[in-house]
Structures are given as structure tokens and as C-alpha cells.
């Protein structure tokens, strides 16, 4: 059990900076997910925590002790790799016990721990098999088992689910969460899949181009993204972004999206947006789920867009509708009963309480 601190971590490969100064405090027993597009430096960060990658500058501390020069074998961390990295010449039992055998644990202790981990992961009957006789999901479990038996200070996961098919991925996601609830080891988990990040994490760290964009609980990131990048990265389908300006009419603020679309800003936000009146370089952001069909008996705070639907994608529980505002694709989510049809007009209501206003120059949410 340990807490991990990253202080001004920089990693340079030849002439490119993969990680450009990261500060992060990971509390004991916490499940932290590093998420971001490929090449954002999340894997490099994880590998620096593991000790597999040297740190160009900055400090990594475990329980307050700087471990920059401690080789991976002495850091007492366990890692689960994307391709599982099971030793092909060892049985599952040997794979899981390898770390303990290297540390010369007594045989009975090794057996006890392996059995315990195998029971948690439900792989007891696989212990005598070789990795090549296992399915992808089983290999994944063994890789996790290898980490669990070590009872390390920190678990590190490097995109552990990306080699699994979609169905198994959901199943293993739950499994990882269940295991963490049981063993309560500090965990750093890297993924490019924002759904994985949201479902697993106590806190999500969104990274982009070697920097941290935002750190927060999953719901905070969803509701209060700090930057346009986070707003666009978290949530699926992605948030709609439209060029806009803020204007004042009849004592209330409105967001103008086009000549004939201007949506009223909720009164609670007037003070926040007043300073940006008439400014250019602003973007309006609204998630598809906050753009739904207008209620026939009127909405509480009407902000309507009359859309000419170009494409509809029925998903069963909902239907995605696509239309354009000034040439930009906009997506909304409507009830399947709302009668959305391609080529037809539809009145959509924007839930302006959930809107975001973004400064184009800084990329920050205002």
C-alpha cells in the first residue's frame, strides 16, 4: 500500500518531448486512470513509474521516497501489459509464482498466494496449462493473477484490455474493478478508451501532448471539463462544438450560433458570461444527450433548434440524429418514439443548463 507522487516529470526521446512536466499525487488505495489519445505520453508516464523508462528530469516518489534511480525490480510494483507478456515456457502456476520464486519465498507461502489469487480470478483449473493453451480472456486473468500474488505496493496496467474483443472487454473491466475493491492496492491504469477510464477510475487524469489537461472524478470531468480537449474527449458521441458569439437582448444573454439560431443562456450563468459579450473567438459546446426532442407541451426553459435531419442512427434505446448548423455537423440524441426521420424537420430542445462556453485562444472552458 503506497502513495505515489510525480513531480515535474519530463521525458525526452532524442529530440521529442514525450512528457512535458507532469505533477500528480496518487493517494494510497486509489485507482487512477491515465487516459488520452495515442502519443499523449500516458504510457511513457506509466513506464517511468514502473522504472522501465529513465526520467529525463523530475522526481517520482513512493511513500515520500524518491525512486528515480531504483531499478524496476526493487520498486515493488506489478504491471499488466497490453499483450499480457506471459512467459511462454512456464505454466500458469509458474508464471504467477515467478516473482515470488525470484524473491525466494517459502514454497508453502507461494502455493497459498497463488491459490488465493487463482480463486479470486477464477482460474484455479488453469494453473497447470501453458499460456498458448489459453484464450485471450484467460491470459488476461493470468496476467492479473501474476500481479496480485506479488501483493505489490502499486499495480500498473498498460492498456490491458485493448487486445480483447468488445464483449470480453466489458466483462474484464468489471473484473478489474471487483479485484481492486477486494485487494485495495494503489493502481495506475493507462487506457485510450474513455469509457474504461470513466467506469474504473476513482480519479481520471486526462493527458494530451505530454501534459495533463485535467484531473478529476469521472463525473466532474463529464460535467465540468476544464478544457475543450477534455470536453471533446470525455463522452460518446463527442460533444458538439460550434462557433458562437454572446449577445444581450431584452435583458437576457443569448448564444448566437447562426443568423436564425440564438439560444438563451440560463440566468445562473449570466454573471459568468457577461464579460464575453460581443467577443469573437468563442465556441459553444453541448453534448448530444443535452440536445433532445422538444416536449409537445413545452419545455421548462425553451431553447429550440429547428433542424433539417440529414442522418438518423437508431440504437434501440435512443436515436442519434445529425444535422448541420453553418456547415458543421451537429448530433442530438432523441427518444426512438420521437419520430425522427432522415430528410424531415424536427424541433430539438437544447438543455442550456449543460452548455459550455470555450475560449478559442486558450482552449479553456469559461
Amino acid at each position: 500500500m503506497a502513495h505515489v507522487s510525480l513531480r515535474k516529470i519530463v521525458k525526452r526521446f532524442d529530440d521529442t518531448e514525450a512528457v512535458r512536466g507532469i505533477d500528480l499525487e496518487i493517494a494510497d488505495k486509489e485507482f487512477v486512470v491515465l487516459v488520452g489519445p495515442s502519443g499523449c505520453g500516458k504510457s511513457t508516464t506509466l513506464r517511468m513509474i514502473a522504472g522501465l523508462e529513465e526520467i529525463t528530469s523530475g522526481d517520482i516518489a513512493v511513500d515520500g521516497e524518491v525512486v528515480n534511480d531504483v531499478p524496476p525490480k526493487d520498486r515493488d510494483m506489478a504491471m499488466v501489459f497490453q499483450n499480457y507478456a506471459l512467459y511462454p515456457h512456464m505454466t500458469v502456476y509458474e508464471n504467477m509464482s515467478f516473482g515470488l520464486r525470484l524473491k525466494r519465498y517459502p514454497k508453502t507461502e507461494i502455493a497459498r498466494r497463488v491459490q488465493e489469487a487463482a480463486r479470486i480470478l477464477d482460474i484455479t483449473e488453469l494453473l497447470q496449462r501453458k499460456p498458448r493453451q489459453l484464450s485471450g480472456g484467460q491470459r488476461q486473468r493470468v496476467a492479473m493473477g501474476r500481479a496480485i500474488v506479488r501483493n505489490p505496493k502499486v499495480f500498473l496496467f498498460d492498456e490491458p484490455l485493448s487486445n480483447l474483443d468488445a464483449k470480453l472487454r466489458v466483462q474484464m473491466r468489471t473484473e478489474i474493478k471487483r479485484v481492486h475493491q477486494k485487494v485495495r492496492t494503489t493502481t495506475v491504469y493507462v487506457t485510450h478508451d474513455q469509457v474504461e477510464a470513466m467506469t474504473l477510475a476513482d480519479r481520471v487524469v486526462v493527458m494530451n501532448r505530454g501534459l495533463i489537461e485535467q484531473i478529476g472524478a469521472p463525473n466532474d470531468l463529464y460535467h465540468d471539463p476544464a478544457t475543450r480537449f477534455v470536453a471533446g474527449f470525455i463522452g460518446s458521441p463527442a460533444m458538439n462544438f460550434l462557433q458562437c458569439s454572446v449577445e444581450e437582448a431584452d435583458g437576457e444573454l443569448r448564444v448566437r450560433l447562426s443568423e436564425d439560431i440564438a439560444l438563451p443562456v440560463p440566468a445562473a450563468r449570466h454573471a459568468r458570461y457577461k464579460a464575453h459579450l460581443g467577443r469573437s473567438g468563442l465556441t459553444f459546446g453541448l453534448r448530444p444527450e443535452h440536445l433532445t426532442e422538444a416536449k409537445p407541451n413545452g419545455d421548462r426553459q425553451p431553447a429550440y433548434i429547428d433542424a433539417m435531419l440529414e442522418v438518423t442512427e437508431p440504437l434501440g434505446m435512443e436515436t442519434l440524429v445529425f444535422f448541420r448548423i453553418r456547415g458543421i455537423d451537429v448530433c442530438g440524441r432523441v427518444s426512438p418514439e420521437a419520430g425522427a426521420r432522415e430528410g424531415a424537420r424536427m424541433r430539438l430542445a437544447a438543455r442550456m443548463d449543460n452548455m459550455h462556453l470555450i475560449d478559442d485562444a486558450t482552449g479553456r472552458v469559461l
Binding site: 514502473a50 522504472g51 522501465l52 531499478p71 524496476p72 525490480k73 526493487d74 510494483m77 506489478a78 504491471m79 501489459f81 497490453q82 499483450n83 499480457y84 507478456a85 506471459l86 512467459y87 511462454p88 515456457h89 515467478f98 516473482g99 525470484l102 524473491k103 501474476r146 506479488r150 500498473l156
Partner: protein, 304 residues
Amino acid sequence: MTVASLHHSLAPPRRRKYGSMSAERRWALHWSYFFLVVFAIFFLTPPVYMLITSFKSSAEISAATNPWWVSHPTLGNYRELLTSAQFLTFFRNSAMVSLIVVAITMLISIPAAFALSRMRFWGSATLATGVFLTYLIPETLLFIPLFKMFALLNEYAGIELINHWWVLLLLYPTLTVPFCTWIMIGYFASIPKELDEAALMDGANYRQVLTRVFIPVALPGLIAATIFAFTVSWAQFLYPLAFTTSADQLVLPVGIITSLIKGDVFNWGQIMTGALLGAAPPLVIYAFLMDYYIAGLTAGATKG
């Protein structure tokens, strides 16, 4: 309906076409077998003739009867050679040299290949290329300067290397180490990087990564390299011919040629028996480990 009728109309000519192809195939197969037999005769005649001659007495050989037939088969040649102290010395020298060279080769090339394939350091890429180039340098280019070097070493430092069988322990690794390192680099490079990282995370140091993960995983490559090192050491002819002369220091290939050929007297029955016994260890290894042998053979050019 339309599809079915279409199939129907197409079927007959198609079947005829297949028929002609299979006839063509069968014809090609017959010719293949014919030529394979011809080539097999060409390739196997010398060893078979060795075997035939080894069962003949000197009397039968000099009688000049049908050379391809043994009228009075005898194991005399084998008995004589296998009880000859001299021949057994050759055999022992060969075995010692080959086995020790295999050990030296593995001790040098496995760690080097591990370092060159995994741990990038200054000059490592150049060194890998250098290893390969060394493999291309033939022994016929080096034996004269080496001979002179060793002679000088004796003159100035009093270290007598020439005319001792163990001088070959210094010379043979120059032939075996570069190639073995080269193919081991190839085998190690094909092991996914995550595997050593997983071992490092599991608490292994570099030595343990090598011995507990890399060596077991790359075992087929290791066997291929071992076979190569052994057969090259066993077969080497130029170095022992140049560096050893005393009868008790000779290895098999040179021993057979210098001791069994006495002046103009060729005891062919014994020479062939000796040659066959000399060829036996590589042949036995080949018979049992053919796939590894061939993997090692093709690895040099196809890997890297």
C-alpha cells in the same frame, strides 16, 4: 434457380479442366521423383562408398574386384581403429576441442547477443554489424598472421601455444562466436520486449532475465547455435593442420590424413573407416536434430 442452372452449364468443362490439371500434376510428380532419385544417387554415392569400403580387408581392396560390392565383409577395420590408441587420441582431442569450444562459444555469444539485442548502448549497432562482418572473414585469411602471432608469443613471453591441441580452443571461437552471436541476436530480437519488462517488474535482474526467460524461450535457437558450433569445430581442418603437428595433439580430420596415409601406402579400408567414424558425430546429431540443424543453417541469411 438461375444460379443453379448456371452452375450446371459450367460444371462439365470445369471438371475436364481439373482432370487435365491433375494428370499434369501426376506427370510432374513422376519426374520430380525420378530426378530426386538421380540427385540422391549423386549426393549419397561417396558416403555409401565409404561404408562399402570400410567393410573390406586390404586384400580384397588390392584384388581389384567389383569395388561396389563386398565379397568378404569384415569388421576388422573398425576393430583395428577402435583399439588403436592413436585413433582414440584423435577422437578424444576432437571431442574435447569441440565440446569446450561449444561451451566457450555459448558463454561469449549468449550474453553478447542479449546485450546487443536488448540493451542499446553506445556503439551497439556498429558492433552488431561488426559481428556479422567477422563471420564473413574466412579462416584462410587469418591463419598466417595468427601463426606468426603465436610464434612471437612463444619467443617473447615463453607461452607455448603452437602444437598443443588446446591452441584450437583459442582459434575455433573466431569461427563459431560471430555466427552464433548473430543468430542469437535474431532469436532474441523476436522475443517481445514486454516479456523482459514483465520479468524486470517481477523482480528479476538482467542476469535472471537472461537465464530464466530468454534462454528458455529462445531454446530452439540456442540448440541450433550449439549444433553449428559443434559441427564447425568438429569439421575444421585448416587450423589444426597449421597449428598442430605432433601425433598426440592432432584432432580427427588431420589425424586421419596424416597418420593413416603413410607415404604412398594408402590403407583405404582403414581410411574410409576412420573418415566414417569422423563423420559420425555430426551425422548422428543431424539425424536426431535435423529441424534445429536446418533452422540454424537458414537463420544466418534469413534473420536480421
